[in-house]
């Protein structure tokens, strides 16, 4: 990292000092020179006047006596003074009594003399008699200023030469002084700064230059060292923080790995458990489905019908039922409390109870079936006991079509019967009493409703899951009104067609909302 000589600080400092000294010295010398010049001129002038004064009397006598010889001796006397170039003595009518002249000195500085002052001075002295005021003649003298200039040039030259030499010597000395006191220590410091290791800033500190401990260079070195120490400190702090962060990151990553593995394990277990539950439910569904009337049996007994049976959770609490005996055909839709597995348990119990009531006990009228079902359920679930855990039960609608197919008997526990005849929709209300449950009456009497069968009559039994399904813009229940108007507009279609359209309408109404309950509907026409 060498610094060019002309760009060194010492060179610049010396140069500036020399220029200032030179200009200042020259200016002062010039002032002194011109002052000397003025004094010299003054001296010469005074001398000339004194000399003239010395010859004034002789000259006046020469003029008065018109004595050319005396005039000549005056002229000769004056001429001995080397500064005088020309002398003439004239009388009162300007007749020259004596005259003498010599050539002016010439030299290389004539231009300078003319530039600084007139090259010649003229003196004219009027010659008068002492007691008379009459002018007798004139003494005229011309002096040569070149001589003065010659002296001036010599002195000025010496002075300037002196100045120049002084400055050359001074500049040399200053250059050396500045080099050793400024440039060299700075170069040393610069080399040391260049040697600083950015990763370990305080390993090589900058030496404080000898003899500069207390000056600006010393201060610069100290401050640089303090800065390096500061760098080292903040660097080590940063390293410490980075290490800490890296440690935390590693810990976090480790934690994430552990948690992920835990989660994966849990997920696996959950998936396994879920699969087991689903498998179990799927199998349960096979059992539950086997309780339901077979489609072929339905078709043979009741050619015009459709069944919708959709448990919400694979298995459910809804059930439809058909049994044909000498009393006729019994059809039922049952909605047990709860859905999923608890609901399915209830349906098992209900089917078994219905079989017992109809086949073992020979009860065929709907109201009586409901009454007996109520007693059996309450008994089976021990709901007559104070401390029973069960408060479960069911709603149901039961129809009996007599063998002659002339009449339909209906009884309902909270599930109504709908039928359409001649474009009129009829609702046969159920008794408002559920079967089972702790609070229901053991001896409740259900009501049989009789409907005379006519051609084209369509009957519908359904669980509340259908009409209570939320949907539409307002997300409110589908409602009986909506379902009834739908039944009225579609009852003339074939039953499979009705089922298809009804499910379509149901799903459209539900939109993105979940199905909330099990859904069962039985639609049929006797003839």
């Amino acid at each position: 990292m060498p610094v060019n000589f002309r760009q060194r600080l010492s060179y610049h400092q010396a140069k500036i000092t020399i220029i200032v000294a030179l200009v200042l010295g020259l200016s002062l010398s010039l002032v002194q020179i011109f002052y000397d010049l003025a004094r010299e001129k003054e001296e010469v002038s005074t001398t000339v006047r004194q000399v003239v004064e010395m010859f004034r009397e002789s000259a006046t006598d020469a003029v008065y006596n018109i004595d050319e010889t005396e005039a000549q001796s005056v002229v000769n006397g004056l001429f001995k003074y080397s500064h005088i170039l020309q002398v003439s003595v004239t009388d009162e009518v300007n007749i020259v009594l004596a005259h003498k002249s010599r050539a002016a000195e010439e030299g290389p500085f004539d231009w300078l003399a003319q530039f600084i002052f007139e090259d010649q001075d003229k003196y004219q002295v009027l010659l008068k008699q002492q007691d008379l005021d009459k002018v007798l003649g004139t003494l005229q003298i011309t002096t040569d200023n070149y001589l003065i200039l010659q002296n001036f040039v010599q002195r000025a030259g010496l002075l300037l030469l002196n100045d120049l030499l002084k400055n050359i010597v001074l500049s040399g000395i200053l250059l050396l002084v500045f080099y050793y006191t400024l440039t060299q220590p700075l170069l040393v410091m610069a080399r040391q700064v260049a040697a600083v290791d950015p990763s370990q800033p305080n390993k090589h500190l900058i030496d404080i230059p000898l003899r500069h401990r207390n000056n600006e260079l010393g201060l610069l070195a100290q401050m640089s060292n303090r800065l390096l120490e500061g760098f080292e400190e903040s660097l080590s702090q940063r390293l410490a923080v980075e290490n800490e962060l890296a440690k935390h990151r590693d810990q976090l990553e480790q934690l994430v790995v552990e948690r992920t593995s835990e989660l994966e394990h849990s997920l696996m277990k959950v998936e396994e458990a879920n699969k087991n539950i689903l498998d179990s439910l799927q199998y349960a569904k096979i059992i539950q489905s086997s309780l339901l009337p077979k489609q072929e049996t339905l078709n043979s007994q009741l050619p015009h019908q459709f069944v919708i049976w959709q448990p919400r959770d694979i298995v459910g609490g809804d059930l439809y039922f058909m049994d044909t005996s000498e009393a006729g055909t019994i059809l039922a839709v049952i909605d047990c409390t709860g859905h999923g597995v608890p609901g399915a348990f209830m349906t098992m119990l209900v089917v078994s109870a219905l079989q017992r009531i109809i086949h073992d006990e020979g009860i065929h009228t709907p109201a009586a079936i409901l009454e007996q079902l109520n007693r059996l359920v309450k008994m089976m679930l021990q709901q007559d006991q104070e401390d029973t855990l069960s408060n479960d039960g069911l709603d149901g609608a039961i129809c009996l079509i007599n063998t002659e197919k002339t009449q339909l008997l209906y009884a309902g526990a909270c599930l109504p019967l709908h039928y359409i005849h001649q474009e009129q929709l009829h609702v046969v209300k159920a008794d408002r009493h559920s079967i089972g449950y702790k609070n229901s009456k053991l001896d409740f009497n259900f009501t049989n409703h009789q409907v005379e069968l006519k051609p084209g009559m369509s009957f519908y039994l359904y669980s509340d899951g259908l009409v209570e399904q939320l949907g539409g813009k307002k997300e409110i229940s589908l409602g009986n009104r909506r379902l009834r108007s739908w039944l009225l507009s579609n009852h003339e279609l074939s039953f499979p067609e009705q089922k298809k359209k009804l499910l379509q309408a149901f799903n459209e109404y539900r939109g993105n909302l979940d199905v909330q309950d099990d859904i069962t509907m039985l639609g049929f026409r006797v003839y």
Binding site: R432, L470, S477
Partner: protein, 128 residues
């Protein structure tokens, strides 16, 4: 007594009982998997409260979007409780809110109304 506050979930309603205004609010959906378990603390609370209030008038506002059949039984049990209270001493009002287009909720309301003898059971239609 402190206020009773149960926040709504996907399957259960918000239940809020403000003791200063004597108003019980039930809003939202009610189809818990285990209805008895969910409503048991509510019943406990209400039973204690009914003993404490003596004959101060008391109001229940119910605005449900959906409830399953077991929730319906629970509601009936609650209304029976209030009906008994009304018979004994207090003036009890039940406001049953239903959407103007929701005939199911109107029917449910009408059925409850039919079954209760002493409480002042109001069916209040609202537009949404």
């Amino acid at each position: 007594m402190d206020n009773l506050q149960i926040d709504a979930t996907k399957f259960t309603p918000q239940i809020f009982f403000d003791v200063t205004s004597q108003v019980l609010e039930i809003r939202g959906k009610s189809y818990p998997e285990n209805t008895a378990e969910f409503y048991e603390p509510v019943f406990e609370w209400i039973k204690r409260y009914l003993v404490e209030i003596g004959n101060i008038p008391f109001t229940v506002n119910i605005q449900l979007d959906y409830f399953n059949s077991s929730s319906s039984k629970v509601l009936m049990d609650l209304f029976d409780l209030l009906d008994n209270k009304a018979r004994e001493m207090s003036e009890v009002t039940i406001n049953w809110y239903y959407d103007e287009e929701d005939d199911i909720f109107l029917e449910h309301g009408e059925e409850f109304q039919e079954d209760l003898d002493f409480v002042d059971f109001n069916l209040i239609e609202f537009k949404s």
